[in-house]
């Protein structure tokens, strides 16, 4: 069962978090062609968020061709045969986050080697078995 990991206190709007997570799950093959996503109402009730937020995310994903609306069936995942995107495409999805991290590293005056080591460390920490949770938002 596909699970979202929504962080209300994040600077990323909730609809954008949903779009990003579904897109990544399809690219990684965790969501496959024909898989059904829970209804807008079910997602809103489960995660206690405004249904309009879910609806906005689903509409965007539909416009991008990631999801397809089926009458009476909710939203179906539309992925090409071969399951998941090629590594190159998945890397392209990672690129914006990398650029953001690179900018922050440069602004903080962190040497490239130190930044790479920190990224490696973070990757290891977020491996499955570690529950996949992101660090809770700091107050």
């Amino acid at each position: 069962m596909f699970r979202l990991d929504l962080q209300p206190s994040s600077a990323t709007p909730l609809y954008r978090q949903i779009v990003d997570q579904v897109t990544r799950a399809v690219a990684a093959g965790a969501l496959r062609d024909g898989d059904e996503l829970p209804s807008v109402r079910a997602v809103a009730q489960q995660y206690v968020i405004n249904p309009m937020t879910v609806s906005k995310a689903y509409s965007l994903l539909e416009a991008q061709g990631v999801l397809e609306r089926r009458r009476g069936m909710g939203m179906l995942v539309r992925a090409r045969e071969g399951e998941g995107a090629a590594t190159g495409e998945r890397l392209a999805l990672l690129q914006p986050a990398l650029e953001q991290a690179a900018r922050a590293a440069r602004q903080l005056g962190i040497a490239p080697d130190d930044a790479l080591a920190a990224f490696q460390q973070t990757l290891l920490q977020s491996m499955p078995g570690d529950d996949g949770q992101e660090t809770p938002h700091e107050y």
Partner: protein, 304 residues
């Protein structure tokens, strides 16, 4: 199209004009004075039907007065508020029947039993049924045979929520509705807000004032920041999240369109809140760092 008069930009705040014709709530220059003190100063916004507005501000910013003015419960010295097009100071019964209000410190008749109090206020509404009342009371763990004076503060708040929602209102105004509720009670409350898909064509519109910013992040489609009785910021939640940034620079940014606030930090650096729809990020001085803001960070950037 903005058809409401005077809902354009105002000098010291950014507002996103919203379609006036379909607005559930319009504040058109609402100004309230208590003696010599101006508690609300020319407050303007229009909230479309189906929107959930989070009203945010420090203690004393005017949140409670604003909600009461929208309902016509405090006199305005200038401007007016309209609910579904009807002047708040002269609400007709048709509009009144569509409202639900949870006051910050609700006053109740302590000698009544919970079910008696709920029925007393609910009965006059067309959409009220005893079944609905009992179902809501059960969901909020209210013992309907208890006398109101024996309820705990948390139970009184749950009673206020049931009172406001038992007649299936279309427009809810909540003043700190969940401050005394535990986290699970707050979840129940938020879920209840969106349970009306089958209940009719009119979408629920709500205004919630709260210091619990995480709760607002979950449900708010629009945000209004109040500061000393003025609107600091009003707009769609997602738009604010995507277009407002905090910029740190060594020197102060020149005052210009798009720079909402600039202040000096303890370390000598300048922190500015900017709107990238009015000030392109590419034009910032070299060395400026820029980051997006969550609601709490935005609150701090505006009020800290």
């Amino acid at each position: 199209m903005n058809t409401e008069p005077g809902l354009g930009l105002i000098t010291d705040a950014i507002t996103e004009p919203t379609a006036g014709t379909d607005a559930a709530i319009v504040a058109d220059g609402v100004t309230v004075r208590h003696g010599d003190v101006t508690v609300l100063n020319d407050v303007r916004f229009a909230l479309p039907r189906g929107a959930v507005l989070g009203v945010v501000g420090r203690n004393g910013a005017g949140k409670t007065t604003l909600l009461r003015a929208l309902l016509g419960l405090v006199p305005t010295v200038a401007g007016e508020a309209r609910l579904y097009g009807c002047d708040s100071r002269a609400l007709d019964d048709r509009v009144r029947a569509r409202l639900g209000y949870v006051a910050q410190s609700p006053e109740f008749y302590g000698w009544l039993r919970v079910r008696e109090l709920l029925a007393l206020f609910g009965q006059s509404y067309p959409a009220w049924t005893e079944e609905r009342m009992r179902e809501l009371a059960a969901r909020f763990d209210l013992a309907v045979d208890l006398r109101v004076r024996h309820l705990s503060p948390g139970e009184r708040q749950r009673l206020a929520i049931v009172l406001a929602m038992q007649h299936r209102p279309d427009l809810l105004i909540f003043d700190e509705p969940v401050a005394s509720l535990d986290p699970l009670g707050r979840r129940d409350f938020l879920r209840l807000l969106f349970e009306r898909d089958e209940e009719g064509p009119e979408p629920l519109t709500a205004i919630i004032s709260s210091h619990l910013l995480d709760d607002l992040e979950r449900v708010a489609t629009h945000l209004l920041f109040l500061h000393q009785g003025r609107v600091q910021l009003f707009g769609e939640r997602d738009g604010l999240a995507e277009h407002l940034h905090e910029v740190v620079t060594a020197a102060p940014l020149p005052t210009r369109d798009g720079v909402l606030r600039s202040r000096r930090q303890g370390d000598g650096a300048w922190r500015s809140l900017i709107d990238d729809r009015r000030l392109a990020l590419a034009t910032l001085p070299a060395g400026a760092t820029c980051r997006p803001l969550g609601l709490l960070e935005l609150f701090v950037a505006l009020n800290g």
